[in-house]
Assembly symmetry: C2
Homo-oligomer: 167 residues x 2
DNA sequence: CACCGATCGTTCGGCTCCGAACCGTAAGGA
DNA sequence: TCCTTACGGTTCGGAGCCGAACGATCGGTG
């Protein structure tokens, strides 16, 4: 197999004698490496001009798709912890893109909504974001993309257990 | 296709009329979602007891595989920026796992090495880490794992251009 | 030999990330 | 009605993440 990254060749050289599962290693390391590189790419190419981070963008997008949400649902939907959601919503609130309000029926709950500015921003950005998603995936055939997404979902299920996610 | 996450069904409901590439969207969103979930899983299950983050662990591992490295090479190898590498190395230095020294030949360069404690720590942890890598991938066949890794490398190459990576 | 442009690592500022703990609110049982 | 347990969101502390800028060092040129 001559598809390996140079780093992967070195790993085989140095650790090849050890009883390790290099196939599993390749999956996990390349999953993480490619995900990090794509996040950085999307942030620098599409999001940076609006000074939005990947996660801020995902929050706007989740609210755009699902409408107003309770903060705990928003955290789950975006795939971040509740303290992180608090911080990111605070950032976006400061930018004027979202607002918080207390739920009437249950004083513990906070409802997060898009503002008009937030709605305009995500409606403007998402087609550009999706075009760049196309740019980074179009070297794979449609069938390969579907199979890749299927395997990635299976990886997610392997660690998420029954945790529902709505991002 | 009934393999979609509930979130993905909702996206089709709400944005289905827009001229978007849902296949590309599925690849990128599931890549990110699965990578984040696996990082969290590995951190909580294997790394937390030693209070190591994913990136600290990768730094130790890269030094283990490649030996002493210049700080700029280490940043590239781990896949992080140089300011981030400075911070993570500072953290690990404080924990006694790595040390820094100036290069003799070029006063600008910093050489980063594992300490004896660092070497013991990564040698102890990596088999456990790899066993968990196996746990999260073994639902896929060997052939599927290899194909998945190949596609993930192709995604990485799509955004990395010619940037060499040695993580 | 001096100066200029480039490189390297760090600092700064701002943002993300999360576990533990805290405070306010809700629900259930005695 | 009061007490206890649980839930929700936030705060705290610590760590990671990066672009821009800075200071130290190097190499090349005149």
């Amino acid at each position: 197999m001559d598809d390996l990254l140079p780093a992967e060749r070195k790993v085989l050289d140095v650790l090849g004698e050890m009883p390790l599962d290099f196939r599993a290693m390749a999956v996990v390391s390349n999953l993480f490496r490619s995900s990090t590189a794509i996040r950085r790419h999307m942030e620098s190419k599409i999001l940076a001009r609006d000074r939005l981070s990947w996660t801020s963008f995902v929050v706007l997008w989740v609210l755009w798709v699902w409408g107003d949400m309770e903060a705990r649902e928003l955290a789950a939907g975006v795939g971040i912890s509740r303290p992180t959601a608090t911080g990111v919503v605070t950032t976006l609130e400061g930018r004027g893109f979202v607002r918080r309000r207390k739920a009437v029926a249950d004083g513990r709950l906070v409802i997060v909504s898009l503002t008009a500015a937030g709605r305009r921003k995500i409606a403007e950005l998402f087609p550009l974001f999706n075009a760049e998603e196309v740019a980074v995936t179009s070297h794979l055939s449609a069938a390969d993309q579907e199979m890749l997404a299927t395997w990635l979902r299976s990886m997610l299920r392997a660690v998420d257990g029954g945790r529902p996610s709505r991002g």
